[in-house]
Subunit: 337 residues, 2 copies
């Protein structure tokens, strides 16, 4: 079924207010969840909301916590503590601060510790691009993927976002270091569909396209095998060191039954290089490069060569016009919260 | 055959001096080439040297050019022009400047345009880590890989380096956005060995482990399929926009016979967050995380779980002690230059 963006937002807002959020926080939090679904990232929009409310109710997430600056590491680099507040509100505030720093100093960075899951990673890339900034941000996570050559989940899939502003549609890459997220693996398992590519290992240690087997071994494949494994480690190192926060070694492994993903570390970096009164450099180069990539001869007639974020924008427009697709059972759960 | 690091360095220095390099430049350039081979990156050390000298002799690379600052984009962010000088000298100077800026401001960035191939990417990560900095740097390249869904080489494999200093051995990731480099594909083809994983497409549009077929189609696979393709585009955008330099759209495609990789764009970013007199934060977190990852149960007894840069350091020590392995034909070519 489909519901309007407004109806989705109103219901999420309602539940957040009932769960002790201040009105201003509730409005931003509801908008960020609703926009994830609007943009087609259903796994981190409405579908994730019941678990978020459970985390609020169990005390993993403190709805009243406000992030605070704990150190200035230079004129344009700051360290903040998230005080275990709502991950999306903390991330949104830190990206807003990185934007502010970039507009004052050309480049601005905010490292955030003791925060919680930021829900849809891409949110903060779109936020920065809307403000005219190039941006990079990333988070560490609970250990949910084995490092290359191993079988225990000692590294996170550590999502990475890279964004470039462009008038005709921002270019926003939002990717985890695992080839397929646990969300995607669960969907493929439930639909009994093979993955489009080998996505992890089975119990015999062989690569497989069977999501159910990968979910059993908890051995999803990093992108580019050893390369994504290395990159996940570097993102963890950067977020933990710059924030003086927890690394995945401190957070623990998803395979430990009583391990909770809490108090994670993130980094937000922005660049603002447009000069007032001159043609916009980022827009010119981004538009040229989009045109160049669009002109690529496709592998076959059914294939379209797109830039990161292009389909998101299309989905957003479609869902705004025709309503946001929702899972009826989850929607009913949220109506009852 | 093996030769000593000193003999390798001396011969490269000798050739550079004969080709018009000033002594100081020649010494740095020879060291960077020799260290690439010393560290086991043979493809971008001695093996690449004859092509580099050809580029100097044909005028693609100007041995006398000095990079110069063209804009200050903020207190800690600068734009430099490489003036088509030697790529490794330009990159080394810009990373040195980024280190200097980071030590003064916590974070420092240098965007470089109109430069040339920087040879071994990892060089600049080790340089920054040796100076106690966390670092990220990347370059764009000639179009040498199709964007996801396409068949024409309109994106570069755009190598990315991420480095974290650590007393017992820096953690340095050096990876291109293609799963296998053209160098690796050529080695596999010459040895008639299948690739360890599917590395690109054959002429029927099927994924293959046959390097010879991939070299024919010029369709190497990006890491993580659509993900590495998107990441390559973002790295190109960042390096071209921040430097106001050429993107791959301006450089051209490897498949165009008369296309030359020249005047490319790069970015160097450093962080320095150690406080004098306090325990080193980067070293503590990096050492903890290395210990945690090393403790991973391996997939089988023959497998070792390592961090990026661990094997490099081992190779460096081995080659320093026992000599640097060189291809006899290439060594003889260089002796005759």
């Amino acid at each position: 079924m489909k519901i309007s963006f407004q109806a989705l937002f109103d219901q999420l807002l309602n539940v957040l207010l009932k769960n002790g959020f201040e009105r201003q926080d509730a409005e931003l939090c509801a908008r960020l969840f609703a926009e994830a679904s609007l943009d087609g990232v259903y796994s981190h929009g409405l579908n994730r909301f019941p678990a978020f409310i459970r985390d609020v109710q169990s005390g993993v997430v403190d709805p009243h916590a406000i992030p605070e600056k704990v150190a200035t590491l230079g004129s344009a680099l700051e360290r903040w503590d998230g005080n275990l507040g709502p991950g999306n509100l903390n991330a949104h505030r830190c990206m807003a601060r990185a934007i502010e720093l970039a507009k004052a100093h050309g480049m601005g960075g905010v490292a955030l510790r003791n925060t919680n899951h930021w829900m849809r990673a891409g949110t903060y890339g779109w936020q920065a691009a809307d403000a005219g900034c190039l941006a990079v941000c990333f988070t560490n996570t609970i250990g949910n993927m084995p490092p290359w050559g191993g079988v225990e989940c000692r590294i996170g899939n550590n999502p990475l976002v890279v964004a470039v502003p462009r008038k005709e549609g921002h270019i926003v890459l939002d990717m985890a270091m695992s080839l397929f997220s646990y969300g995607k693996l669960n969907i493929a398992k439930n639909q009994q569909q093979p993955l489009p590519f080998e996505g992890g290992y089975d119990q015999e240690g062989k690569l497989t396209r069977d999501a159910a087997r990968i979910l059993r071994t908890k051995r999803p494949l990093p992108i580019g095998y050893w390369k994504g494994s290395g990159m996940a480690l570097m993102l963890d190192l950067f977020s933990a060191i710059l924030s003086d926060g927890k690394s995945t070694a401190d957070i623990g492994m998803i395979s430990d039954a009583n391990c909770i993903e809490q108090g994670i570390s993130q980094f937000f970096l922005c660049f603002h290089v447009s000069q007032p009164g001159t043609p916009d450099l980022a827009d010119r180069i981004a538009s040229e490069l989009v045109e160049w990539v669009h002109a690529t001869q496709p592998a076959d007639k059914a294939t379209e060569v797109t830039y990161p974020g292009e389909r998101t924008l299309r989905t957003r427009r479609e869902n705004l016009e025709h309503g946001v697709p929702v899972d009826e059972a989850i929607w009913n759960t949220v109506l009852a919260l």
